[in-house]
Structures are given as structure tokens and as C-alpha cells.
Symmetry: C2
Amino acid sequence: MAVNGSTVDAGKLADFSAKALEKMGVPEEDARLTARILVAADLRGVDSHGVAHLAPFYIRRIKDGLINVKPQIKVISKAPGTAIMDGDGGLGFVVGYRAMEEAMKRAEMTGAGFITVRNSTHYGAGAYYAMMALSRDMIGISLTQGGVGIVPPGGRGKGVGLNVISVAVPAKEEAPFVLDMATGVVAGGKLELAARNNTPIPKGWAVDMEGNPVTEVAKATGGILPLGGTPQLGAYKGFGLTVLVDILCSTLSGGFTVPEMNRELSARGKSSHFFGALRIENFMPVEKFKQRMDVMIKAHHNLPRAAGVDRICLAGEVERETERKRKSQGIPLHPAVVASLKELAEDLGIDYNL
Amino acid sequence: MAVNGSTVDAGKLADFSAKALEKMGVPEEDARLTARILVAADLRGVDSHGVAHLAPFYIRRIKDGLINVKPQIKVISKAPGTAIMDGDGGLGFVVGYRAMEEAMKRAEMTGAGFITVRNSTHYGAGAYYAMMALSRDMIGISLTQGGVGIVPPGGRGKGVGLNVISVAVPAKEEAPFVLDMATGVVAGGKLELAARNNTPIPKGWAVDMEGNPVTEVAKATGGILPLGGTPQLGAYKGFGLTVLVDILCSTLSGGFTVPEMNRELSARGKSSHFFGALRIENFMPVEKFKQRMDVMIKAHHNLPRAAGVDRICLAGEVERETERKRKSQGIPLHPAVVASLKELAEDLGIDYNL
């Protein structure tokens, strides 16, 4: 499927990524899982969280000893519906996948399963874990610390984490509802994308060290603003959401908090998560629920539209369309990403045959 | 505590409100509970959700037959951690209180209790129910449909509900974290407040029927914008959050959806909610968790501040200070609210002795 080196087949891209991870000492099963989750993001059009990060972020961090490729993941549980998981510094993809499985296992028993996770690392795009619930007829929830980056209302410079909320809900004929949002005005990955494409960013996304809004990524040294941007337009809400995610991920799990991450060497690169699953059948017959979802989604589609607007989209619809297209036509990769993968292949002594 | 008719004692205000509800046929226990929840909002400074609504909203709706003062509340459960509750059209305060009790009872058993509620009515400020979890050393969650009002990105005129997210988390010395946010740029109550005080509203809060932003409440006929305001500044996130709340409250419970509320007579005035509780002790010792909360909160307080900013506040801090002040000094009521309560007293034949 390789077309002039920039449109690649998803399966081949996953095979390549897995091979690279195996070369770094990641066990085969974990490498394949990680590659699958990375490529799933590319398929859904979330280019900021896909294979673009493989070489400069994940492989780099394994080389730097910041990721434990053979973690002993532990589950500590005192109640049927809840548990803490210790990821032992493993790849966030592997830890996150197992934690979401654990949450769903508990939801099978009690109706609601919730797992908070410490000592994990960056787990890519959160939607993947939430979407694991779809085929199990559950509502899936995945929250994660997203590194340091949000400027709180009244604050100056980076403070609390740019945390992420992901929730997936199955529908019948319509696309599943998949919310996958950073609690900032914009995900950190979008700034990287703007830097890569050399495009300006909208005023209200980020500030410099003095707290002034900027439109050049290079000057966005202060940090990203919380959803809402200014206090008058609800920045306290976005700030509240990001603190809430931090509480559920790190305060509740015993994981590293943002101040600890800034201070302690052992916290470098660590991340905490939180997963939840609600079993739909315990509330109402799954078929009826999915029909109700379709009705709700269609009602949104049929709302009156502003001039010039073709359609009203719910969360996850555009991503599903992109996924269908890219599954058949391939994933377009930015030349800089192709270059980084080719360099990685050479570095690790594996074939670049995409 | 009555000072020139506009600052009143919380206890007396609750007694008066309960008496008025009893006159309308609400059983004593339910009337006292409802009054307590209304006054709790006034105490916390959430004037938009307190006794200002008693006469023109709740009493009015009881008179109009839109609220069942003696509901037969049912709990339907198929799993230890979850249940559906049918509120039988009762006062939202009564239904909400019982549903949150039910969620906490289940969290005692399984660690995580989640209840979705149909056939309820407006339940006031959501923080009250989430905060019920604080004394039980749990994390409390309360979501509700908030009536029709948000303009979706690309939409024109009111569509999906202006839904509300409330979460409460206990701390040790610091104020508990209490997030209580509408998923719009601003709560509907704030527009009522601006109308009452005859003050302009910021651009970005609401639009007219053509989708144009307005600064006069009277012209805000189109509806309130979702958190984020414009798509570029994250309106899809606020829109996604409000749809998520609707799914958990109404799609999952079998309650009325927004299109049904606009169409069906039996749906008039109805509301659906969703409650959750997570038992902290099942994750880590409660004392340790509360200490970790304090550390996290203090770290936020100590972040560098922008010029002219005195402090960085977390969700619920300002409300706790207002509550302490108003508990000792009384609740200041707007003259229009005093007038509505006096009129209510005369109408129902009860004493106005505040």
C-alpha cells in the first residue's frame, strides 16, 4: 500500500512498530499490543498520538531507561468492584490494556468496575482503552495524567497536568460515542503538530512565561490554558476537570503527583491512569440501550444548523469515518514521520518495508 | 438575624421553606430535606440555585401538577454495584437524596456504586448530592440533565441539555474538592441572575436564534454555548461532556431524552440523574488519601501567580468560605427574592418571620 513513501498499510505499520519494540527488549505479545494501539490512533486520524511518537518518545524513553520493558504488574484489591494496579514502570499501553481488562472483569461481576493505576508510563491515545468496552457491551472510561502543561486560572507558567478524559459508549447503527479530550483548550499533541507543520496556533490555546497569549508554538513556553481559556468563559471548569482527573489517577492510586514528577528522579516519565466500566445489561437490555443511543444521535444530527454547516457531529463520528477510509486506502504519514521511522529502522537494524 | 429584610438566618429560611412545601402537600420529612438542600446552595453562595427558585419554580410546578409530592420511588437492581431508580415524578431533591444514599450503600459493599435515575424532576444544585459522600469517606459523583439550552457546534438554536457535572472529594485540613459545573460556558442560573440584576453578559455565553453572540440576556433566545464556546477553543469538548451526561442520566436509565421532553406532555418538567460513589478505603487508607489531597491542594496554592492575582483557588474553596461566613452572618437575599418569599407566605397563609 506504500504510495511514494507516505501512505502506508496499517498492518505493515503495526508489524514494523512491533518489530522495533521487540528489538528494544519488549516481549512479543506486549510489542504487538503496543503497536496495535499506536496504529489504531493513526487509523482514527489522531496523528498526534500514533507512530509519530514511536521513535522520538517511546523508543527514546526505553533507551533512556525510563520504561521497564519487562514489568511485574501487580493488582491490589480490597473489594469486588475496585482495585489499585501498580504498573512497575512498564509501557503504558501494556499496563493500560491490562487495567481496562481488570475493570471490565469486575464490571461483569458487580456491574461497575473501577481501577486506579500508579507507576505506569505514557499510554498513547486514551480512546483505545475506553473503546475496549464497546465489544463487551459496556460503557468504558479511561482517564490519564497527561504530563505537565496547564496554566491554572490566575497562575503563571506550567502547573498541573494536561490530563485526558476518554469515554466510549456503544450504539447500534450509528457510530459509537467516543469522547477523547484533553482538559486543556487543546491537546499537547496538537501543538507538536502545529510545530511540525509550521502553522500558527489560535489565540487562547497557550501563553508565554509571563502568562501572555501567543500564536507561535515556539513562544508557548508558559503552557496550555485549561478548557474555557479565560475565567469568564469557564476556565475554572476546565481547571476543575483536570484536577479531578489527577485526583482519580494519582492521588487515589498513590502514584506520583505533578509536583513529585517535577522534583523526584524516580518519578521521571511516570504516569498514573484511572479506568472504569459499566455493564449496560445491568441497567437495561443492551439492544434497547443501543437503539436509544441511535435515537439520541439521530436527534442531534437533525438539529437546525447554522448557515454554511453541513452536519452536526457527535464525538467519535469523524474518527470512525477516517478509520474506515484509512483501513482501505492506507495511513498517510507526514514526511518527517517517515524519516523518523526510516532512521529508527537503520538504528535498530530492521527492514523498513512499508 | 433579619437585617432590613434582606439578610436572613439559614435555619429560619429552611424552616420557612419547609413550611411552604408542607402547605403544598409535601410530607414533612421530604419538605425539610428539600428546604435543607435549597438553603445549602444559598449558604455556599450559589444564589442561582437556592430559595430564589422556591416560589417561581418548585411551588409553581407543584401547583401545575408537574411534581408528584408523594412519589412511590422504585429501585430496580440486577447487580450489587448498580441500579436504576424510578423517581415517580417526585421532587428531585427527594429522589436525588435517596439515589445518592443507594449509590453509597452499594459502594460500601463493592467499592463502587452507580445509580441512574429516571422520572425525577429538577434537583437544585448538584454539589449537595456529591458532597453527601464526604462524611462517608467516599468520592461522590452527581450528574443531571439541566433542561434544554445548549447550542451545539454548528447548530442554531437550543438543542441538547445544559447538563451538570458535580464531584466531591474529601481532604484533611484543606477544603474538600467540590467541582459543580454546568457543561455550558455558564449555568442557566447565571443568566437569570444577570437578568435579575440587569447586568450585561460576556460575549461567548449565549446566542440569538440565528446563532449570533449577544451581550443582553433578553436577546439570548438561541441558547447557551457549550464549554469552550467556539470549536477552535474546544466547544466540541463541552458539547461532548454534555452529551455524555445525557447518556448516563437518560439514555441509560430509560428516562426522557431532550427531544422527548420537547415533544411529549408526560415528559414536561421531568429530569434524569446519575449518581456514583467510590469508597476510598478500598484504594488506600482514608487518612493517607486525605493527606495526599492536602499536599496536592497546597501545591496548587503555591504555584507562581500572574501579576495582580492574590491566590489560586481549587473548586469548592470559595464556596466553603462563603458558607462559613453566611452561617454566622446570615444569608443576604436579593430584594426580588425577599418579595417572592413574602408573596409566597401570603399566598399559602404562612408567617414570613425571617
